[in-house]
């Protein structure tokens, strides 16, 4: 066991950090307030090879490992959580399943431009009545000769306002519940496909979250990802990987907030001394640093497990649960250390505090993570 990044990973981290500081950070506050989707950021990230970090070079990606991917998401999220989740969705929820379940033809046609960042992807599973229980989804796909015809609605779809390609989950047989779910690759210019305007949210406000609607949307059977009825498996396996991305995002948000709090505590003077001289503040900082290290290590461990072991659901769920709740605590303490200033828009910590909140919810709520973990632990110990 060892936990040092390799030389290559350090170089990656440094170059992504530079990009984050110089390009992403200056716009973070502005896009948070306006809700404007940062398509330019995605394009630039794509040029740097960050849209498909762990996708082999042969399919347009950067051919790196999953820990490198975590480093990328952490560094971007450290300055802008919105940008972090945009990348995470494209990498984890779109490129990953295409790589794992796609045919050679599908990979060439769809994965290559997505992994290269020429196209932006989104993942359409959640519906108004199907959140934590996706098996209850109501979107349908009817086979019609060589085509499928899709009808239904999707909700809270990150990247939805700007995506070029959507992975859509719909039922080919509603009676079969989760065994009837099938996954489709859908270019968003397909007739019958429409999306709403972006949803104004508490945090990660510029991530293009919106609803999708499919009305008699006809797609060729060749765009089905995996077999009929395999969609649930595709979704669950994909979300296992996605959780690692969200864990990395949570670590990045927490790291950003921690650094601001550490600096502020040393500048801010009360009672004649820097507030960092007070034990109460020191203990906050100590706890933040400790939990951050634990969250990062659990995230890397999940990434390592994904690459080196046949199963990684437990590690991914633990990393996601721990890191997201850690980010919530760390951003809360960072805001507290800033006092009244932290509650204003003048400082970044209020944004970090808002952005952290969603990490406990999307790609499986904390409650779903606990169900996954308890299930594995009760079986295994």
């Amino acid at each position: 066991m060892h936990i040092e990044l390799s030389e290559e990973q350090v170089l990656l981290r440094d170059s992504v950090r530079r990009f984050a500081e110089e390009v992403v950070k200056p716009r973070a506050k502005e896009i948070d307030e306006s809700g404007e989707f940062p398509r330019g950021f995605f394009d630039q990230a794509g040029e740097m090879g960050l849209a498909g970090v762990a996708v082999p070079e042969a399919y347009g990606g950067s051919g790196m490992d999953t820990i490198s991917y975590c480093v990328v998401i952490e560094e971007i999220s450290r300055v802008c959580a919105t940008s972090g989740v945009i990348l995470s969705v494209n990498n984890s929820l779109v490129c990953d399943p295409l790589l794992k379940f796609g045919s050679e033809e599908q990979k060439r046609e769809f994965l290559v431009p997505l992994a290269a960042g020429k196209k932006l992807g989104c993942f359409a599973l959640t519906e108004p009545g199907a959140g934590s229980d996706p098996a209850g989804l109501l979107s349908t796909a009817r086979r019609d000769g060589e085509d499928y015809v899709l009808n239904g609605n999707k909700l809270f779809i990150t990247n939805g306002t700007h995506a070029d390609v959507a992975l859509v989950f719909a039922s080919t047989d509603l009676e079969k519940k989760h065994r009837g779910i099938t996954c489709f690759i859908v270019p968003t210019d397909t007739p019958g496909y429409s999306h709403g305007t972006h949803e104004f949210k508490l945090g990660v406000n510029a991530s293009g979250t919106t609803e999708l609607a499919f009305q008699e949307m006809r797609i060729p059977a060749a765009w089905r990802l995996g077999g009929e009825g395999e969609g649930f498996k595709v979704a669950m396996s994909t979300l296992d990987g996605g959780r690692i991305g969200i864990a990395a995002q949570a670590v990045g948000i927490a790291q950003g907030a921690f650094e601001e709090a550490l600096a502020y505590a040393q500048e801010r003077k009360q009672f004649g001394q820097a507030i960092s001289k007070f034990q109460a503040i020191q203990f906050y900082l100590a706890d933040m640093a400790t939990e951050l290290d634990a969250g990062r290590l659990l995230t890397w461990k999940a990434a390592w497990t994904k690459e080196n072991r046949p199963r990684f659901s437990l590690e991914a769920a633990q990393a996601k649960l721990f890191a997201s709740e850690m980010a919530q605590r760390v951003t809360n303490k960072a805001l507290q250390i800033h006092g009244g200033y932290g509650y204003t828009k003048e400082y970044n910590v209020e944004r970090y505090f808002r952005d952290a909140r969603i990490t406990e919810i999307y790609e499986g709520t904390s409650e779903i993570q606990k169900m996954v973990i308890a299930d594995q632990v009760l079986k295994a110990v």
Partner: protein, 389 residues
């Protein structure tokens, strides 16, 4: 582990080496076969596990980090924490006895002792011929170790020690103690010097065993020094270097307590899982109620966090920020283990409050982990000092 061995061309890895896995298997088998069967009885009788310690010594578990040349196992810190976890899982009392001998007795002697002391005293300890302890705390000097009152007066080739030490693990059963005393009472922490003190010296006396909330099969007592003459060759480091030696020793020993906490935490999780699967209420195993299964999920997740922090601290031991990592591991692992034991007892309901069930003992045993070898509060001060410098 040296910096050079942290080969940067490799990507991070979370797998122990084959040797480490083999060690874990052997230690686990020994723990289950030779330690676990007597744990409950020893706790009830407040009985020190002399025979178990003898066997552990033969297996090389008491001088794990000591170089081969001095009779030790010459292992790395990660191997050490893995072994402490396995032992503590079946008996935290044996865990702390082991951790103290390895971390606060062998370790400072191996690092700061003279060649002669290493060839004699350290060899006896490392080969398991005897166990040892560490005398820093005093009745009025706990977290503020520099305020100690025990004195060491130089007289020719000897130092004469006077004073008392409190809460000393292995007092009465250990043969050698690393003892901190003031050679210059006007110099504050710079006046503190470290010594190896054989327990059979005249003027060395041990108090009655303390009655403790937990860890009842580990021995804890006061040490009294009354004109105790220690040969100068038993001094560790130079005069005035004792405080530095004590802090370095505690940085290292926190790994042992973090590992002990992880072992206790793991056992609490196992007990909660077993009980929750068996116990039926409202027509189904309580494990099927989310209130219970989510508590188990949290225990398992915090165990994973505590373990990875502990392992990271072990493999970073030679780095400049090692003190921060050790403090983080100790603070987090001990507090997480306390939460786990609390929750595991809660899962047991009324049965958990009965000494019939193992969780009741663990609940008592775990409490001290946030206190000894630096309270959680001291760990946070150490962490903050690293962050703010």
């Amino acid at each position: 582990m040296t910096t050079a061995s942290l080969a940067v061309e490799r990507e991070p890895s979370f797998a122990p080496s084959e040797e480490q896995e083999l060690l874990v298997r052997e230690v686990r088998r020994f723990a289950e076969e030779r330690i676990a069967p007597g744990t409950r009885q020893r706790d009830r009788a407040h009985e020190f596990p002399t025979e178990v310690l003898r066997e552990m010594g033969e297996l090389g578990l008491l001088g794990m980090l000591v170089p081969d040349a001095y009779g030790g196992a010459g292992l790395d810190s990660l191997s050490y924490v893995l072994a402490v976890e396995e032992i503590s899982r079946v008996c935290p009392s044996v865990g702390v006895t082991m951790s103290v001998t390895n971390s606060v007795c062998c370790w400072p002697i191996a690092r700061f002792g003279t060649e002669e002391v290493k060839r004699t005293v350290l060899r006896e300890l490392a080969t398991g011929e005897c166990i040892g302890g560490f005398g820093l705390t005093e009745p009025t000097s706990g977290s503020d170790a520099a305020s100690m009152r025990t004195q060491a007066r130089r007289e020719g080739g000897e130092y004469v020690l006077d004073g008392e030490k409190a809460w000393i693990t292995n007092a009465g059963v250990g043969r050698y103690f690393v003892v901190l005393a003031k050679t210059d009472t006007a110099a504050g922490k710079r006046g503190i010097t470290a010594f190896v003190v054989p327990a059979d010296l005249p003027g060395f006396r041990v108090g009655l065993p303390e009655e403790k909330l937990g860890l009842r099969a580990s021995r804890t007592a006061q040490l009294f020094f009354e004109g105790c003459r220690v040969p100068a060759r038993y001094r560790l480091g130079e005069e005035g270097e004792g405080f530095k030696i004590a802090l370095a020793t505690l940085d290292h020993s926190r790994l042992g307590i973090a590992a002990q906490s992880v072992g206790i935490h793991r056992r609490a999780l196992e007990l909660a899982v077993a009980y929750a699967r068996d116990r039926v209420q409202f027509g189904r195993p309580i494990a099927e109620h989310q209130a219970v299964s989510f508590a188990i999920a949290r225990m398992a997740t915090e165990l994973a966090a505590a373990r990875v922090l502990t392992h990271a601290a072990a493999i970073r031991e030679a780095e400049s920020d090692a003190g921060r990592w050790a403090a983080q591991a100790k603070a987090y692992a001990s507090e997480a283990a306390n939460r786990a034991c609390y929750d595991a007892l809660q899962v047991h309901g009324g049965n958990g409050f009965s000494e019939e069930y193992e969780i009741a003992r663990l609940y008592r045993d775990v409490r001290v982990t946030t206190i000894y070898e630096g309270t959680s509060e001291m760990q946070r001060l150490v962490i903050a000092r690293h962050l703010l410098n």
